[in-house]
């Protein structure tokens, strides 16, 4: 868990709290509306066979998002 900077760097199966969400970009708002907010716990469940997209667990459900989005979600150490 330590050392993970952003969501795309989280090891498989590990969880962390979200520290900061991006403020710009096409989907920054929708990600928050789907529950990714500072303070929420997020778990990296698995990646797709080709490495992208990622599947995370947030607020009790499963969400898939691409690495380019995940890179912008900063996690607490």
């Amino acid at each position: 868990m330590a050392g993970a900077q952003n969501l795309s760097q989280l090891p498989l199966g590990a969880s962390a709290r979200i520290k900061e969400m991006p403020r710009t970009g096409a989907s920054f708002l929708r990600l928050r509306e789907m529950g990714l907010l500072p303070g929420a716990m997020v778990t990296l469940v698995r990646t797709a066979p080709l490495g992208d997209p990622l599947e995370i667990r947030i607020r009790g459900y499963l969400l898939s998002l691409r690495r380019t989005e995940a890179e912008q979600v900063l996690l607490e150490a």
């Binding site: 096409a26 607020r59 969400l63």
Partner: protein
Amino acid sequence: MPELPPHIALPGRKRPPAAVDRTPVYAIVGNPNCGKSTLFNALTGLKQKIGNYPGVTVEKKIGETYSQHGRPIKVIDLPGAYSLAARSPDEAVTRDVLLGRREDTPQPDRILCIVDASNLERNFYLLHQVLDLGRPVIVVLNMMDLAAAAGLTVHAERLEKALGVPVIPCEAVNGRGLVELKLAMSRVELPLARHRWDVPAAVAPAVAELQAALVANDGRSHLVARAEALLLLTDFDTVRVAGSTQLSGRTNQILQNWQKRWETEGTDWAGTLVGSRYEAIAQICRDIVHQTGVTGPSVSDRIDAYVVHPLWGWLILGSVMTLLFLSIFTLAEYPMNWIDEHVALLGDWVKGAMAPGDLRDLLTDGVISGVGGIITFLPQILILFFFIGLLENTGYMARAAFVVDRLMSFVGLNGKAFIPLLSSHACAIPGIMATRTIEDPKDRLVTILVAPLMSCSARLPVYLLMIAALLPGGAVPVTTKVGLMLLMYALGLGGAFGFAWLFKRTLFKGEPPAMIMELPPYRLPRLKDVALHMFERAFLFLKRAGTFILGISVVLWFLAAYPKNPDPAATPSEQVAYSYAGRTGHALEPVIRPLGFDWRVGIGLITSMAAREVFVSSMAVVFSVDHFEGGKNADITPLRRSLAEAKWPDGRRLFTPLVCLVLMVYYVFAMQCMSTVAVVKRETNSWRWPLFQLAYMTGTAWLICFVLYQAGRALGY
């Protein structure tokens, strides 16, 4: 309905009964995957109508259910939405209808908000926005069985107390809770929500100012104005759709001023609003949802371990897709042949029953074969949508999109484009209809535009004929046949991906939409829902595309049958040459001669507009092959011979190997099938895109064939 002054409609107090004695109109809203359509089907059964919201390619679903007193209640099924801050035309329509912004759909009286009990927090977000509207709301706490299975206890009564609105626990799949729901819906008066949440201080003055502006300039009621103000502030990249009334200039100005101000100050106003909603939600949920059971990896998790596995995942996907493809390709054959036979029987019967003449010909060759042509599509459409319904219902569809997304995004296609493109190898029509599952309109449009490039089954007879004509004498070696066919398929595939990439770069430029997709838990498919969905699609196809296809069939028949050759002993070949089709073929010749085709091939190109496989029987007629029986098991040897002997006026062979190859390539790329045009028009709601598709595909076909033919000639072939 006239809004009552604020001091009467206090939250928590009951509203006085409506002045107008009609049953209220309900709108059903909810997240995707919350069981909304199951509930809608359970409430309305077969009393459903599907239409279109004018100006948008979003479907309007209206149904009727009955109150406990037996009076009809109108129910509008609004498209699933994660938030009223719309990110797609579907969500925009839901937002607009709820806010009363659409002239074609009056604001619904009451709202049924469906919430997935096993996923309460996120589902609550939409509910929270809906409660802002100040309309009577009934909360349906659906999927209670799934919540229980996940070890969650959800206290519906506590939620009802907290919100002040009726909360009905439901298991729509089992029908549990429906009676209580109908009882609640039948109530003459419904309490308004006890809903107050404190807007964060940074944003409060903006909300107040916008609210005042909306009331003053846009004629909104007090509560709706507040809800809309909150939405406007989080609707960062507003999706506007045709048919929704615009905001007044003054209100827009105020909004922009605030947005500019926050940008310079660096305040994350949108995020702040979302955050404070979730805080309010978390507070309520703390009391309502308790994790009681022990949770190990859920069943869904264990299935996913295989389904998304690097090895098994692909195998499973491959098997599912193969099954799908085989079903559309081969299984559909049986009903299709049955239909063909019976259409032919009907035609024969009419021939026997009527006197020979123009009317009879119109009926048999125009109308009956036209209708037969339409009905022939039904088996494939039904099978495809049965499959799609099954895949979506069980939750596998999301996993399939998840697995192939990386591949498809190379060319800018959505993961969900996989199934439409695969199905288009059987027939583009169900494939294009299947693009419905793609939410993003740009992605969907690009998929629709390139789908017909996938070599469909109707092209096969043309390929087979040309391959046979290519090689003089004797039987065609299997390896050559297969090789050339694969080449054609590969060309189509390559063309599709190439154009998808090109379109995404040029016409549909803009930020690629993020792939943010929920992976719902696996569920057993509900066959009733799947069947209903399947029949709906088929019915819509018949209604919308059917008339157009019939019209085109009659027109094409007319072109090939008239004007009649004055010589009564004219052979069919001479008759066709004399007809409009023949004349058009002649007129077309200068354009197609650089490709190596003459006017007789031109006739074939024209008649192919009814269906590509008609090319074969047209060639039989034009090249005077007597008693040619078309169809799958046609003996093309006599036709092959005729083609081999066909010559230009100057004596050169017409069907040289090069020309045969070029003709095949032409069929790979050209857009000919008018039925496809009809369906594209229906699915995109305009003529612009089918005409564009016609132009770009046929233009590309011409260009490639031109280069191929001229290069071939230059090389001495």
